[in-house]
């Protein structure tokens, strides 16, 4: 055997094997071309395309067993410039050749002889089922690479241990491969890692009691360390994947930043910090046992964007403080305090200049209204939160010649906010994205007619008690605002319907329904 080992040119074997595997991969690629779409490869393609488009490994229903293969395809697609589909059809089958050196290394160390290792690797690839499975554009080749790599690392650690060499680096490599295996196919990894652990324990027992004399110097403690460390890794992974034992309920106001993260104009994240926090928050949502959403719209966005099961989300609308927000007379000193003209009509907006609030659009629509009704002024109540947008907005107002017709009050006490609603002749809310839209209800509770965007959660919050117009239709908005200001019958109708609509939203109801969700989760 020694002679064979020293003279036998295993390199040739490996080259021949690699050539044969490449030919077989060429056959699989050419014969099956597009047929992969009818197998689970199609699901992996969709999962990889999702990962590529979303840039996150939030698990999808498409392929729940592991993200390693979609991640590999995404990495390759980014770096090679090929589409995921092209990679799947024309490149992935050929990557099966990567298994050749891994199979040889694993068998060589298991057998202790390069020639027999090369022969064993060849036997492996001569199995048509294995070859086809690995050459397909599925996660199989990655799973097998990790499995063979793990086998190799552990066998090599035995080899070094027997020779009295340190095995720490093999432990590191084993961890890496075990992690790769778990993320490639969690289903396969659980049984494979368990089988390897069992085999090692059995082997150790054999060494300890049956062949004690032959291997007296064998470092059992190190071997035990390998087995234990792999088990600890597996346990850690399971604990990490496992949800908390206590039920977790999270109330979600909206996931608008997440939804708009790819829209440059929406400026969803102003800093890396905000982006990171939102990433953590979205991941935490995915692990909650139940969610409470403010609106059916928020519920739908969570289901669509995060793939969260719809049946575990309860819609609990927010409420209005009816003791504060109610119709009441506005004292004359209020106008004096805020410099308002008692004889003038005012349109009110409450909120920030966050791009999703669509303020530049409101200013444009208001400019049209102002041409028709020059006595009408616009009031904005809300602190400046987005400085660049606030500056641009101010420039826009000045360019439109509305500097004297638009008033801005940065922050006002709650009591005065209620008076602003009462003082206003019309409340407007043109948001593109909202999780709920509380100011709409507050205005309605004060008996102020409302014109709002026909978008996001606003249709369900405002119902038919407001004039709802598309948040991109400037002319429609100017027209609706004009009608709501001048048509007395319409104003009276909107006021009555608004009061009725606001009455159904109370904090008592919100509290009761929230408690109900928590009670269901804990019993």
């Amino acid at each position: 055997m020694r002679n064979l080992q020293s003279r036998y040119p295993t390199g040739w074997h490996i080259l021949l094997l690699a050539g044969y595997v490449l030919l077989a991969a060429g056959y699989v690629s050419a014969r099956f071309l597009w047929n992969w779409t009818s197998t689970d490869d199609a699901r992996l393609t969709v999962a990889a395309e999702y990962l590529y488009a979303e840039g996150t490994i939030v698990p999808t229903e498409t392929y729940p067993f592991g993200y390693a293969y979609p991640a590999l395809n995404t990495f390759l697609s980014h770096l090679t410039g090929l589409s995921i589909r092209t990679l799947q059809v024309f490149v992935q089958p050929f990557l099966v050749v990567l298994l050749v050196p891994l199979a040889f290394a694993a068998y060589r160390n298991l057998m202790g002889d390069p020639a027999i290792g090369a022969l064993a690797a060849m036997m492996l690839f001569l199995q048509p089922e294995f070859l086809f499975e690995a050459a397909r554009s599925s996660h199989a080749k990655l799973t097998w690479a990790m499995a063979l790599g793990l086998l190799y690392a552990l066998a090599a650690s035995f080899r070094d241990a027997e020779a009295g060499k340190p095995i720490g680096r093999w432990v590191v490599i084993s961890y890496l491969f075990a992690f790769g295996l778990t993320t490639s196919s969690a289903f396969f990894a659980s049984s494979y890692l368990f089988a390897i652990a069992c085999a090692f324990v059995g082997w150790q027992v054999w060494q300890r009691w049956c062949r004690r004399q032959a291997h007296r110097g064998f470092p059992l403690t190190r071997l035990l360390y390998v087995v234990l460390s792999c088990s600890v890794l597996l346990l850690a992974m399971l604990l990490w994947l496992r949800p908390d034992l206590r039920p977790v309920v999270v109330t979600v106001h909206d996931i608008v930043p997440y939804l708009t993260r790819r829209q440059e104009s929406m400026q969803a994240y102003r800093s890396v910090w905000e982006r990171w926090l939102d990433t953590l928050a979205t991941q935490a949502l995915a692990r909650a046992d139940a969610l409470i959403a403010d609106s059916a719209y928020t519920r739908e966005t969570i289901v669509q964007a995060l793939r969260y099961p719809a049946e575990r989300i309860r819609v609990v609308p927010l409420g209005v403080d009816h003791t504060l927000f109610r119709p009441r007379p506005v004292p004359p000193e209020f106008d004096a305090r805020y410099g308002l003209d008692p004889g003038r009509r005012y349109v009110l907006y409450v909120g920030s200049e966050n791009p999703r609030k669509n303020l530049p659009f409101l200013v444009r629509a208001f400019a049209r209204l102002h041409q028709a009704l020059p006595d009408v002024h616009l009031i904005r109540v809300g602190a400046v939160q987005y400085l660049p947008q606030a500056r641009t907005l101010q420039e826009q107002i000045e360019r439109a010649g509305l500097a004297n017709a638009v008033l801005h009050y940065s922050s006002v006490p709650d009591e005065d906010l209620a008076l602003f609603y009462n003082r206003a002749d019309l409340f407007v809310f043109p948001s593109l994205y909202e999780g709920f839209g509380l100011p709409v209800l507050e205005a309605m509770a004060c008996g102020t007619p409302v014109v709002c965007a026909d978008a996001a959660s606003l249709p369900e919050v405002a119902g038919d008690a407001a004039l709802r117009v598309s948040p991109s239709d400037e002319e429609g908005w100017a027209d609706a605002m004009g009608r709501a200001l001048t048509d007395l019958r319409l104003r009276e109708e909107l006021r009555a319907r608004g009061l009725e609509q606001a009455r159904s939203f109370t904090w008592e109801r919100t509290a009761e329904e929230t408690v109900r969700v928590y009670t269901i989760m804990t019993t």
């Binding site: 003279r7 770096l79 090929l82 050196p101 910090w273």
Partner: protein, 281 residues
């Protein structure tokens, strides 16, 4: 001095960055270079540097074993890097992927170099193809025979492959049949419906049968016909994607709606797909 192979492995991700970051479409030779570099940077470079850092001494691992480690560690690093990027604010996009692969490679190259230079020169490992051993020395004749044999076997294999493909054709005859959501994405499929109210999906059919085919689609729930479409005539290679709506007729938590594709007027279903719906009264 840094070993040549380590320098090269450290430089490859940098070359790739130069190709990737200017953006825009590349001319064919550069696109080909990006393809090759992309494959090597993901599948080889980080693992190569890592194995050099772990085993800097000569004679601690064989050539094929080092190759196995290079490939295996590179592959195993991908899910680890993906997890790391996912947790970081930037997410997994072109810039972060190039950065992560280049960062991982350069860090391990630096580590490998530090370990390597602390070893006595004669025990340092350096990668090289043993051309001399292959072409000369004892057993040269038998090695020449192996080279020749190997070449003959591979050429014969390639010829056989081409003959088989010539006889059997490229690609099996197949019809792609798939469903998309109304926005043409393979997600957000309808999962709820109401009896009597139409539900819409997009159906895709691609004819790869190498002959013209007449397709017809039926949407059924058991014995009930819920909707139909077609006939759609598709020439070889042609694709059809269009909306199909169907109306559920019975309520249930898990109603299986089958999409059955027939071809050329044959009464036998050719391809089937289904959706599970939660249908309310």
């Amino acid at each position: 001095m840094v070993p040549l192979s380590l320098t090269l492995v450290g430089l490859l991700p940098v070359f790739l960055m130069l190709l990737v970051f200017p953006g825009g479409s590349l001319p064919v030779p550069l696109a080909a270079a990006r393809l090759l570099l992309g494959l090597v940077v993901v599948l080889f470079c980080p693992g190569y540097a890592a194995q050099a850092a772990l085993f800097p001494r000569r004679n601690t691992a064989g050539g094929v074993e080092r190759l196995a480690l290079s490939v295996g560690i590179s592959l195993a690093l991908v899910p680890l890097l993906a997890l790391m990027l996912d947790q970081l604010p930037w997410g997994i996009d072109l810039g972060s992927v190039v950065g992560a692969e280049a960062g991982a490679t350069l860090m391990t190259v630096a580590l490998a170099w530090m370990r390597w230079r602390h070893l006595p020169p004669d025990s340092r490992w350096e990668w090289g193809i043993p051309w001399g051993d292959l072409a000369s020395g004892p057993g040269t004749r038998s090695r020449f025979g192996l080279w020749a044999g190997l070449t003959v076997v591979l050429v014969l294999g390639l010829a056989l492959l081409l003959i088989v493909l010539r006889l059997a054709g490229w690609g099996e005859p197949v019809t792609e049949f798939y469903l998309l959501d109304p926005e043409r994405r393979a997600e957000s499929y309808p999962y709820r419906g109401v009896v009597g109210e139409p539900v819409a999906v997009m159906v895709g059919i691609v004819n790869r049968e190498r002959m013209p085919v007449d397709y017809r689609l039926e949407v059924v729930d058991g014995e009930n016909l819920l909707g139909q479409a077609g006939p759609v005539y598709l020439s070889p290679g042609a694709a059809y994607e269009g909306p199909v709506s169907f109306t559920p007729v019975r309520a249930g938590d898990r109603v299986r709606v089958m999409f059955i594709l027939y071809r050329n007027g044959l009464p036998v279903p050719y391809r089937t797909l289904w959706l599970w719906l939660e249908v309310a009264e």
